[in-house]
Symmetry: C2
Subunit: 245 residues, 2 copies
């Protein structure tokens, strides 16, 4: 028996998120079914980030145990031909039997992409959130700077989630414009439910001038979801990768 780690990229458009649901196809469901068929064992993967419906990934991590004799690094090559085009395993390797992708310390990076121009672009409709009107990237960065560090992010967590603590650490938050695309890149120790999308929705308010960057301090202190901005749509969000520390 060995434990295998997969790096999984997907376009989340056609899925009900990562985690197996009673209704709707999920990334986890497709991986379980496809791996079980390939390896002739019942496989259940454990994901690092249980991304929401419509959220994309370049480098989510899934782990599973197997008795297969396929060399660990060949599993990606063996598996991909049986996966749909919108899910592609980027790497496979063996990890120690006690490695758990959610119980390890890690740095996760997400990117929220805004397409900021007069009309939507059909070729970017699946991975960017279209927003017309002036967005001041410097103000967005100034607002985002207040979130870096260790904070109670209760205001940036969707209601009715039962977690032990809403304290998280953001290592880095960068807001960049490249042409018509504004990217909010956040690296953190972990994220609460909808946290990156609520950060994006709040930074958009700052970028539009509806919010002063300094108000971020009060929003954090409020520890109340209603203090922060709206939850930006899922399809602008991509999980770009995880570093295990």
């Amino acid at each position: 028996m060995k434990r295998i780690k997969l790096i999984v990229a997907y376009d989340g458009t056609n899925y009900s998120g990562w985690q197996v649901q009673p209704n709707g196809e999920t990334i986890e469901g497709v991986l379980n079914r496809t791996l079980s068929g390939l390896l002739h064992e019942e496989i259940k993967v454990t994901g690092a980030s249980r991304t929401d419906a419509g959220v994309h990934s370049l480098g989510n991590v899934a782990v599973f145990d197997t008795d297969t004799r396929i060399p660990p690094e060949k599993i990606a090559y063996a598996l991909n031909p049986f996966l749909p085009d919108d899910i592609v395993v980027q790497d496979s390797c063996e990890v120690s039997g006690d490695f758990h992708p959610r119980h390890c310390d890690s740095r996760k990076t997400y990117e929220y992409k805004i397409l900021n121009r007069t009309f939507p672009l059909p070729t970017r409709r699946l991975d960017t959130y279209f927003l017309y009107g002036k967005l001041d990237v410097e103000r967005m960065q100034a607002a985002g700077d207040y979130l870096v560090g260790i904070h109670d992010f209760k205001s940036f967590c969707s209601a009715n989630t039962a977690v032990e603590t809403t304290v998280r650490r953001i290592y880095d938050l960068q807001v960049e414009r490249q042409g018509e695309v504004i990217t909010i890149r956040v690296t953190g120790s972990g994220f609460l439910y909808n946290m990156v999308r609520i950060i994006a929705g709040t930074l958009i308010q700052a970028g539009r001038g509806e919010l002063e960057p300094e108000e971020m301090r009060e929003i954090l202190e409020a520890r109340d979801r209603k203090a922060a901005g709206p939850t930006a749509p899922a399809h602008g969000l991509t999980m770009t990768g995880i570093d295990f520390l």
Copy 2:
């Protein structure tokens, strides 16, 4: 009666190309139907580039005549809410009554995008052609340089097309790598059927070392489709814009 010019962007994935077909949905068909409904007149658009099934556009041009009282520059705003997400008009304006988008001298630009890495990326599967293995961009550029200028491009034209002449002018051809994406950008006076895709397929052979750049001269001189490389897949191709001279 006035003549209106539209700049039309689309993701060609779900269409049987630009031109109305007996079977299958087309960009032209959607525009005709949606404009006719909006303007309460029977509208038939004329396109500048009749792109193939699966080819995308950032700036194709469509022209039509109408009696509408909607101001020309407002037509884009009025039309977009009735179009599917994968077709978005970027601009509308009035042009003179003798303007015809295919009979005017113009410079058209196409980009062919190759995703060059070990595994496909789900988020780029619709607008890039995935190709594993070493591609030498300098060799591709050196091969492409032979195509710039006025040439008989018969070798780069799919068989059984009846055109008066297969002589075309390429103003510029650039091959660039940005990270894992190689872009072949071609600007020309007009393009024969499948011409950009055959150029891409041939430059890929040069990039792989299967063809010496100098052989491009012989391929042009052969005036025979069989002399050139394969037709690269449609989904890597995007029409980026047209300048009318």
